[in-house]
Symmetry: D2
Subunit: 359 residues, 4 copies
C-alpha cells in the first residue's frame, strides 16, 4: 500500500483547530503512511492540544506552535495549510524554498495568476499584496480525479473549494465530451454550516441557522469564478454559469444539483450514467448511482466519497446531475489527504473512509 | 373586519389530526370570523380531541366524527377537506349539493378536468374512479393573489400544492409580463419534512432525514404538472419547466429558487423588484424584499406570508427569484383560511399571522 | 380586556435586537394594551430597525436610539430592559426617578440585596459596583403565578431566569405544602441554545451544538442560587438542591425534570396532579397534564404557557415533576409581558399566545 | 492483533437492515478479524443488499436470506442477532446446538431466568413462550468492562441495552466501592431518536421529534430492571433507583446524568476521578475526563468509546457522573463487536473507532 513511502511521511498541520485542521488530524490518526509532527496555530500557540480538543486527544499531547517556516521545515516533509484566504501565500514560498511540499486548503493557489485570484478575492488582495505569480502558475489544482499526472510530483497543490469539488465532479464529464450547451448551466448548491468555519458568527449560530434554509452569495459567490475556470478548461471555451449556494440546517455535507441542456436530445439517463461510470471507474473516491437512485449527503457523511446520480427530462432535454460530498472531507481536508497520497506514491484512497456510519 | 359575516361562520375540518388539519384548527382558534363546529376523522372516530392532541386542547373537547355529508351539512357552513388525494372527490359533490362550500387541500380539484388530474395522479385515479368533470371545471384554484374575482363567490376551491404556491408566486409576474423565455426555467425547491405528512414513513424518521439533504421526485414530481398548468395560463403558451424538490432536515418551510432567462438583458434586479412590489402591493400575504436581501424560510415560519427576492446576473442574463413560505400555512392550511376569508367577505389576512417569532 | 388602561401604554424596549428584545417586539405587535414607542440599543444606535431585522418589520421603521433615561422617560410609561447582567442596575434607578416603571430581564433585581446578587454574579459585581440595595429590596420577583398582590403596583420587577421559571413552577406546590423532603432534590434541566443569547460564541454554533447533548455549569450554575432563594421562601427553611443544565440541539424550549422524595409515601400521582391543578386553576399560563401524559417543549414552543406533569414511583417514593416552557417567552420575554399586563390592570395572558403551531 | 484467530471468523448478521444490523455491517467492513458471510432478514428476504442500502454497498452484493439455523450454521462461526425482543430466544437455542456462538442485541438474555425477563417484557413473554432458563443462566451479560473472565469463552452473550450501558459505566465504580448510598439514585438519561429503531413510528418522525425534548417511559421504563439487576450485584444489596429517559432532537447518542449521595462527604471530584481512571485504566473503550470537562455525546459519536466525567457538590454531598456514549455503537452494535473481539481472543477495541470526526 505505502510501497513508495517505506517510512511514514512527516506532516505539519497549520491551522490545526479549525474544522479543516481537525479533519486532517483525525484522518491522519488512522493513516498508515503519515504522522503529524507539527501543529501550527495562531491564537492558541503554547497550549497543549488535548486541553483545546479533549474530544480528539493526540498521542503525546503536543503543544501548538508558532508556524515559522524554519520550525515547520525542521519537523515535516509536507505541510497542509488550513488558513484564511491570503495567508497561505505568505507562508508557502518559504516552505517550498525549504523543501517542504505544500497542500493549501485556501483559494490562494487555485488560480493561474495572482491577478485572477485578486479579481475574485479583492479584500484579501488589498490586505495581502502578493508577488508569487510563479507559484500560482506552478500550483496543481488538486481535484484528484481530474488533476492528471502533474499531481504526483507537485510541490504545491491548491486544494479545490468545497462547492467547486461537488460541482465539477458533476460537470466535467458533460463538458469535456461536449454533451451540454455552454449557456444556461445552473448549479443550485446546498451546504451544511460547517462550511462557514469555526469562528463564531451570528448567522451560523444554531439558534439562527436551525429550522430554516436561505440562499446567500446569490450572483457572484466567489466559488463561481473557480468553477468557471475549470469548466472552461474542460469545455475548451469560456463557460459562464449560474451558481447559487444555500445554507442548510445541518453540520456537514454539500449537495450540488446541476442543470444543463443536452445537445443531443436522444441521450438517456442510462447513457449518461454509463458515461459517468466509465469516467470514474478507476477513481475509488467517486461512485455513480444507478438511474433513479438519488444521493443523500448523509450517505457520504464523514467519508471521502462523492456520490453522483444522473437524470434526464426528455420533455425539456435537460440533464440533472446530483452530486453529494462531505464538505469537510472530499470537499476539503479529505481531498487534501487524497492529494498527499498521490504526491507520495500511495493509492489515492489510502487512509480515507469511503463508507458512512448510517444513520 | 368581519363586516360581511356578522356571526362567525361554522367550519367543518375533515382530516383533523393530520398536519393540515392541525394548522386549520390552530388558526381558527384565534380567528374572529370562524368557529369549528365539526371534526371529521377516519381511524380516530369516537375519540375526544384533547386525548389525541393534548398540545392543542379545544374548547369543549369535541369528539371526532365520521365525516358523512349529512352530519357535516347539519353542523357547518363551509368544510375544509384535508384528506389523501382521491378521497375529497368522493365527499365534495354531496357536500356541495347540501349547500356546504368546500375548500379542498388535496390535488383533486386543481385541474380543469378529471382526465388531466388522472394523467398525473394515476394510482389514485385507478383506486377512485371519478365523474365530476363539472366540479373540476367549476373549482377555483385558490392561489389567492392570482385567483381573481371568482374566488369570492366560489362554492368549491382547490387549494394549491405547497411547491406550486412558492413557485408560482415567483414565476407569475415574470411570465404574465413576458419577461423571461419559456424554455430553460428551473425550479430548485427545498422543503421541510412536514410536507410529507404525519403518517409514519421510514424516510421521514428523524434518524433518517436529520443531518442530510437529498433530492427526490427528480424529473416528474407531480407538482410539475400543477405548476406548468398555471404557468402556461399566465404566459399564454405552453410552458415546460424543470422542477426538482429536495428534502431538508427541518420541520417546516419551503424555499423555491427559480431560474429563468430574461428576454431583455437590460433589466436590473431593481427594475424587477419594483415590478414585483407593484404586483403584490395590495396583497398583504406577500412581501418583496429589497435587492440583496434574501429570505430564509425561518422568516416566514408559522406565518401565512410569502417572502420574495429577485436577483439578476448581468453576465448570464439570468434572473433568480427566491420564494420562501411556510409549507403548512401559506403552502397549505393558511392559504385555505385565506381562501375562506375571501369567500366570506373578510380581508384575506384576517386571523392569519404574518410576522414570525424569531428565532 | 384592557379596561384599566383605556389608551395603550407606551413601552420602551432596551436591548431590542437580542433574542429577548425580539420576542418583546413581536409580542407587542399583537398586543391590544401596549405600543412600542422607544427602541434602545448599543452597537446599532442610529440604524433603522427594518434594516437590522427584515424578518420583523415594524410600522414606521423606527431608529434604534441611545438609551438615555431622559429620552426613555420622554417616550414611554414602562421600560423592558433586556441587557447583560450588571447593566440594568445602571439604568433602572434613573428611570424609576423619572416615573418609568421597569421590568428587568437580567438577574440584577432577582435578589433582595446587592450582596446576595454579588455573591453569585461576582464578575459583574466587580465591573459594575452597585449601591441600590433599596431597589433590590423593593423589586418584585416576577414569577407571576407566585408573585402575589405586590406585582400589580410594582414599580420595579426582576423577571425570573428561564431555568428558575421552569423549575419553580414544578417545585413550589410541593415545597409550600411540605410534601417533599428538603434534601436530595434534583433538577435536571434541558435547554435550547437560544438561552445562550444572540452574541456569537463558538459553542453555540450550529456546527458545534447540533447533533449532540452536553451538560454545562455542573455544580454551581448561577441559576441555582435564584432557585434556592425562592424554594427556601416557599418551604420556610433553607433548601439546597442539585441543578444541572444541559445544552440541547434545538433553538427554543426548556424542560426541567424535577426529582424529590415524598414525605408521605402514600401519595399518588393522581393526588399530586389534583393538587397541581387546584394550585394553578386561576393561572391561564400554566396547565397541568393528566397522569401519564408528559410534556414536550414543542407543545409550548412560541407560547407563554408552562406545561406540568407529575409522576410518582411507589417503589422509591420519588416524585418526578416535568415542566416545559419556551425559554424565550414564559422563560423570559413572555413572562415580562405577563408582568406588564398585571402591572397595568390587564388579565395576565393578554396578548400572549397560549397554543402552539404544531409541529 | 488477531493472533488467536489466524483466519477471519465468519459472522452471520440477523436483522441486517435495522440500525443495529447496519452498524455491525459497517464495522465489520473495516475489521481485520471478521468477515460477514450471512445476511439474515425478514421482510426483505431474497433482495440483494445493495439495492436496499445503496449507501453501504457490500462486496459481492449478497442476498438477504431466511435466517434458518441450518443455513446460518453452514455459513458462520458466530451470529449477531439484531431482532425485536422475544425473537432471539426462538433462534439462539438451535444456533448454539449447531455450534454457532451467539451475541444477542435484544433483552432476551440479559436476565438470569426467563421469569425475570418475563416480569419486565410482559407483552413479549405472552407472544413468545420460552423454556430456555438454562440459556438465561448461561448467558454472559456483555458489558465488556465488567463482564469478567467468562466472556472470553462464552457461547451466548446478552449485549446490554443502550441506557444500561451508559448508566452502569457511571454507577458501577461507585456502587462496587460502596461510595454512594443505595437510596435516592437518579439517572436522568437523554437519547437520540435512533434508539427507537428504524421501523416507522409517528413520534419518531422528524416533524414530530425535531425542535423539542420530552420525557417518556417515566417510572417503569424497562431498562430500569436491567440497570437495577447489575447495580444490585455490584452493590451486594438490592438497589432501586429512578431512571427517566428523554427523547432528544438528534440521531445518535446517549447522555446519562447520574446523581447519588456520597457516604463520605469528604470525597472530592478529584478523588473520584482518580478512582474512575484507575478502574478503567485497562479498558480502551472507556475514558475519564479531567475534573471540570464535561462530555458531549458528539465527542463519542460513531465511536465505541464511553466518556465519563465526575463532579461533586460539597454543599449537598451529591456526586454527579456524566456518561456519554453512541447509543448504536458502545450502546449496541459496537459493544457486540467488542464482545466478539474478546470471545475470539482479540483485543477488545479491535476494528472499533475510538475517535470521532468532529464536528
Amino acid at each position: 500500500m505505502a510501497g513508495a513511502s517505506p517510512s511514514p511521511q512527516r506532516v505539519a498541520v497549520i491551522g490545526a483547530s479549525g474544522y479543516g485542521g481537525l479533519q486532517i488530524l483525525r484522518l491522519l490518526q488512522d493513516h498508515p503512511g503519515f504522522r503529524v509532527t507539527f501543529l501550527g496555530g495562531s491564537g492558541s500557540v503554547g497550549q497543549h492540544w488535548n486541553d483545546r480538543a479533549p474530544f480528539l486527544p493526540l498521542p503525546g499531547n503536543p503543544a501548538i506552535e508558532e508556524p515559522s517556516p524554519e520550525a515547520i521545515a525542521a519537523a515535516a516533509d509536507v505541510a497542509v495549510l488550513s488558513l484564511p484566504n491570503g495567508l497561505a501565500s505568505g507562508l508557502a514560498p518559504a516552505l517550498l524554498r525549504a523543501g517542504v511540499r505544500v497542500v493549501d486548503l485556501s483559494a490562494d493557489y487555485r488560480f493561474p495568476t495572482v491577478a485572477q485570484w485578486a479579481a475574485t478575492y479583492t479584500g484579501e488582495a488589498e490586505r495581502h499584496p502578493r508577488h508569487d505569480d510563479d507559484l500560482c502558475a506552478e500550483a496543481v489544482y488538486g481535484l484528484v480525479e481530474w488533476a492528471g499526472d502533474r499531481l504526483a510530483s507537485a510541490r504545491l497543490v491548491g486544494a479545490p473549494g468545497c462547492f467547486p469539488t461537488a460541482s465539477l465532479l458533476a460537470l466535467m464529464p458533460l463538458l469535456q465530451q461536449g454533451l451540454i450547451e455552454g449557456e444556461g448551466i445552473v448549479i443550485d448548491a446546498k451546504t451544511g454550516t460547517s462550511g462557514g468555519g469555526r469562528a463564531a458568527k451570528e448567522h451560523l449560530l444554531l439558534a439562527e441557522a436551525d429550522g430554516g434554509v436561505a440562499p446567500y452569495g446569490v450572483v457572484g459567490h466567489r466559488h463561481t469564478a473557480e468553477i468557471e475556470l475549470q469548466a472552461s478548461k474542460a469545455a475548451g471555451r469560456a463557460i459562464q454559469l449560474q451558481f447559487t449556494p444555500h445554507l442548510l440546517p445541518m453540520v456537514r455535507g454539500i449537495l450540488a444539483t446541476v442543470y444543463g441542456r443536452l445537445r443531443d436530445p436522444g441521450l438517456t439517463a442510462e447513457d449518461l450514467t454509463t458515461l459517468f461510470q466509465v469516467t470514474y471507474r478507476d477513481h475509488p473516491c467517486v461512485a455513480v448511482l444507478p438511474v433513479g437512485t438519488y444521493p443523500s449527503t448523509k450517505w457520504v457523511r464523514q467519508t471521502n466519497r462523492a456520490l453522483l446520480s444522473v437524470a434526464v427530462d426528455k420533455r425539456t432535454s435537460q440533464v440533472v446531475v446530483m452530486s453529494a460530498i462531505d464538505n469537510l472531507l472530499k470537499g476539503q481536508a479529505g481531498q487534501a489527504v487524497q492529494c498527499l497520497n498521490v504526491m507520495t506514491g500511495q493509492r489515492p484512497e489510502t487512509g480515507l473512509p469511503l463508507l458512512p456510519f448510517y444513520p
